[in-house]
């Protein structure tokens, strides 16, 4: 057993992470080697306070302290100790190094098996897009891995939870798991490791390897586990595995959180780690939190979930922390939000102290809000987790040029796309001239782009000879490339077209840093895609690979991976985000705007007919039916955690905006709104409250 072990539980804002950093400094001051410490977090973003502290100039010099997730530890362990795992785990070519799949490449390979199954009609009873079947099947693999369930158990649990509603669903669950098994067999053939397989191999094989245990125990003597509640069940297994050889452990548990239940987190199971610790402490007093927010948290928690015990609260009116306004129509509500933000900024509030939160943040809403705020001179940053790369104008343009370079493909881009591509890439070509040029030089039925030389001279003059010359160079490049296309993998095609032409003077990407970033992402995804195919096979002719990649990008299966850069994070800008995204950044701000509090979306979860976040956890009884009562309780609990988590991360005021008619025109009265209405009735309206 670890000699010094402490478990601290408490809500956000009581100083747990600050304490952990002090604990690490104390260990260093006692002469403990930094390399012997391991900081384990459930998600990279939650490791940021540690990384920021360790890279600050005033941090003591020495070895780097590892801040990792279990996924990171698994990947690193498998990369290093692969020969010990490959044979035992049954890989067909244990001498091959593993190939780590990205989400996109995993989906690409999974799609093969899903599409075959769809053709048999086995999924016909579900009205579900192939992409959703694919994602939820991958999700089932992940759920199996993070709980250490065999795949059969996943199917059995889903079938038991389904009960006797109607009989078409159980075969569908089985089919999804059969597809998952086929995918897994393929991974064993090819040395592919998707996220779930990495976790499974790490827990099942590497942790049982004596050499890995020796390495790990010599290396790591002190464990700091933060935000335990957001972890998968296997993280608990890992901590128990390491426990006896540790010299010290500090485990931190946020009692209100558990926001990643949808992804497989098991707050209840992680709480049991408390039993391992010699000392336990409960911290309740928030540090630097206004009494109004403390009161608001307590009241809302009880209103949303009446079964909760009301905490001891400061004697203040929680309504002092609220401003709310209700409107009949959605656009009026947005107007009010924009006006209120502009008012705050005018009064000297830094924009980065303001966040706008919604349960889901669609592209239209995001675009509308940021445009309106930008018009008022207020910068915004937003998190766009699911935006397809092809939706970026620069990506769309270069993908269209890729298609034009391959007249042999069955796909011919529409005229509008070609107009957009030429206008986007040729400097000095305005929309009207781009349209004119395209009308003349491009016919989807013809093989390649026509020459500028064949255009009548008066039209040439209209388009301008300078533009004509640029078009000519681009066309020449595409034609020349076409004659040796089989020699270039997709990433090389993109890099060359970019570097040889589009980023040269006379073309719009020349100094367009955003376009550079977008094309770099395309290149990177193309490289990863190509590497999975060619790592152990010589490819003489890249044509087919290039077409596959193009299809993937063109169907929108490549997500824009651009994680907000450090500049975005630090920008003095209003942050627009889905509520859960903001929570997982673990940041406090002065002002929060909650959009459309009457919407049911605040407590609805994603419809996922092929999988289930609650049933596929260890703490759920394997043969229990999932009833409407359980669903209601789960939603109530999730909403309560979400709301208290948000309030705890607000220093001053929460602006609640309500639209009586939702974006689709229906009357709204969701549970969050009802809770606010009850709260408002309970307390006298303070001076600042508007309703």
């Amino acid at each position: 057993m670890a000699a010094r072990t402490l478990f601290i539980e408490g809500p956000a804002g009581v100083g747990k992470t600050t304490y952990a950093l002090r604990h690490i400094r104390d260990l260093l001051a006692q002469g403990t080697g930094p390399e012997t410490m391991l900081v384990l977090v459930p998600q990279r973003a939650l490791g940021r306070p540690y990384q920021a502290a360790f890279t600050a100039p005033d941090w003591p010099g020495g070895a780097q302290i590892d801040v990792v997730t279990l996924g990171g530890l698994a990947r690193r362990g498998l990369e290093t100790f692969w020969p010990l795992v490959a044979k035992q785990a049954g890989f067909a070519h244990p001498e091959w190094e593993p190939i780590f799949l990205t989400i996109e490449t995993a989906q690409y390979y999974m799609a093969r098996f899903v599409n075959t199954a769809i053709r048999t009609g086995v999924f016909d009873s579900l009205n579900l897009e192939p992409a959703h079947i694919m994602r939820q099947t991958l999700d089932n693999l992940s759920k199996a891995a993070v709980n250490s369930f065999p795949l059969d158990e996943v199917a059995d649990r889903l079938i038991a939870a389904w009960g006797d509603r109607h009989s078409s669903r159980p075969p569908v669950y089985r089919a999804s798991l059969d597809v998952a098994q086929e995918f897994r067999d393929y991974c064993l053939e090819t040395s592919f490791l998707d996220f779930s397989f990495q976790i499974e191999l790490y827990i099942k094989f590497l942790l049982n390897e004596p050499l890995y245990r020796v390495y790990f125990t010599q290396r790591y003597r002190h464990l700091i586990g933060d935000n335990l509640e957001e972890n998968f069940p296997v993280v608990g297994d890992f901590i128990r595995w390491a426990w006896d050889d540790l010299d010290s452990a500090l485990l931190l548990y946020d009692t209100d959180a558990g926001y990643r239940v949808f992804l497989g987190a098991d707050p209840g199971g992680m709480y049991e780690l408390k039993e391992l610790c010699a000392d336990t402490q409960v911290w309740r007093d928030p540090v630097n939190t206004s009494p109004v927010m403390v009161a608001l948290t307590g009241d809302l928690a009880v209103l949303l979930d009446p079964g909760r015990e009301k905490p001891v609260q400061p004697d203040v009116n929680p309504l002092e922390g609220l401003v709310y306004e209700s409107f009949r129509f959605y656009p009026e509500m947005i107007d009010w939000v924009v006006d209120s933000i502009a008012g705050l900024v005018d009064s000297g509030v830094p924009p980065r102290e303001i966040v706008v939160l919604a349960p889901f943040l669609g592209d239209a809403l995001r675009f509308g809000l940021s445009t309106r705020l930008n018009e008022r001179g207020i910068e915004t940053v937003s998190h766009r987790p699911s935006r397809a790369l092809r939706d970026e104008p620069a990506a769309r343009a270069i993908l269209t040029l890729m298609a034009l370079a391959h007249p042999e493909w069955s796909y011919r881009p529409p005229v509008d796309d070609v107009t957009h591509a030429l206008q986007e890439t040729i400097d000095g070509l305005d929309p009207v001239r781009a349209w004119l040029l395209t009308q003349i030089v491009y016919r989807p039925s013809r093989d390649d782009l026509g020459s500028f030389d064949i255009i009548k001279s008066d039209i040439q003059q209209r388009i301008t000879f300078q533009v004509g010359e640029r078009y000519h160079r681009l066309r020449e490049w595409l034609l020349e490339y076409g004659s040796g296309a089989e020699r270039f993998p997709p990433d090389h095609f993109l890099s060359r077209l970019f570097g040889d032409v589009l980023a040269q003077p006379g073309y719009s990407f020349h100094t367009n840093l955003d376009a550079g970033r977008v094309v770099a992402e395309l290149v990177e995804s193309g490289r990863k895609f190509r590497q999975t195919i060619s790592m152990y096979h010589d490819v003489e002719d890249w044509s087919a690979v290039l077409y596959e990649y193009f299809s993937l990008a063109h169907q929108g299966m490549l997500a824009a991976l651009y994680v907000a850069s450090w500049r975005d994070e630090e920008k003095d800008a209003v942050f627009l985000a889905p509520a859960y995204t903001f929570l997982m950044r673990n940041r406090r701000v002065d002002y929060q705007f909650w959009l459309d509090a009457g919407s049911d979306y605040w407590w609805e979860r994603l419809e996922q007919p092929l999988t289930h976040p609650y049933v596929l956890t260890r703490s759920y009884p394997p043969d229990q039916n999932w009833t409407d009562d359980l669903e209601f309780a789960a939603r109530r609990d999730a909403l309560c955690r979400l709301v208290t988590g948000l309030v705890r991360r607000c220093n001053r005021t929460i602006y609640i905006s309500i639209s009586n008619l939702g974006i689709s025109g229906y009357e709204q009265r969701g549970p969050l709104l009802r809770a606010f209405q009850q709260l408002v009735q309970r307390y006298p309206a303070p001076g600042g409250l508007r309703s």
């Binding site: 002469g31 080697g33 390399e35 990384q51 920021a52 890279t55 600050a56 100039p57 005033d58 941090w59 010099g61 020495g62 070895a63 780097q64 990369e79 290093t80 100790f81 020969p83 010990l84 001498e95 190094e97 780590f100 050499l211 020796v214 390495y215 993998p489 090389h492 993109l494 890099s495 060359r496 970019f498 570097g499 040889d500 980023a503 040269q504 003077p505 020349h510 100094t511 840093l513 550079g516 970033r517 094309v519 770099a520 992402e521 395309l522 290149v523 990177e524 490289r527 850069s565 450090w566 500049r567 994070e569 630090e570």
Partner: protein, 277 residues
Amino acid sequence: MLPANFQFSQSNLQDYVDCPRRFQLRHFQAQAWPGVQAEPVLEYERHLERGARFHRLIERHQLGMDSAMLAATVAGDAELSAWWRDYLHFDYLHDLPGRRYPEFSLSVEIAGARLVAMYDLLVVVSGERVVIFDWKTYHREPSRQWFLARLQTRVYPFVLVSSGTGLSGGNLLPEQVSMVYWVAAAPLEPVVFDYNSKRLAVDCDYLSGLIREILTLGDGSAWSMTADESRCRFCEYRSLCDRGVYPGLLENISNIDDNIAGSVGFSVLGGVGEVGF
């Protein structure tokens, strides 16, 4: 202002020394720019991948994995197998007693910033000495002078001594540190640099001056571009800087990796910390 969590390293400092504009674009602005760095690209990538596998192989060996088992994993690659055999005959390392720290990172504060070094291998003979090993899979052996001029030769021993690491069981004197480059092209002739107090003082002045200079530069305008335009042929920002269209050929330069491995090396290898092989 540099990015949050930014740490100076031998490779980003080398970028600065080679071309301040490159440092600004790569590290200050983290500007991705997908220009081809060198031709033929696939050959260059293969070389980098092979280098990464070689590093991994040595790490595995130093962690105690069986050499016969490891040899089997590279049997299909003649060049890698040859490097591996040469490494196994590298008695300088194998005869050295002491604890091994493969792929190990240390950092220190200097001039108000953090400087990090990522070592291929540290061998610590407790209370006596620490030897830094670095693997270079160059096809041609560079001169000793070339190594001497590299930032790596200054940064690695400096960080090791200055970090006050307890690895050696007490404070480490510069005279107890040496740095060894093993070069695939000349595996029996390692390039060895012994460190000393004078060198430490010189490096401290030089590195802190360099870092201070960088910290004073703002992002208002483009930083100065290298006068040596041959560097631009192997730089992904060539088009942005109006320094030519086509990339240089690998065969035209020696020690390709250290000259051009910046972001390409990084992305090809999925984030290997310091690329220099």
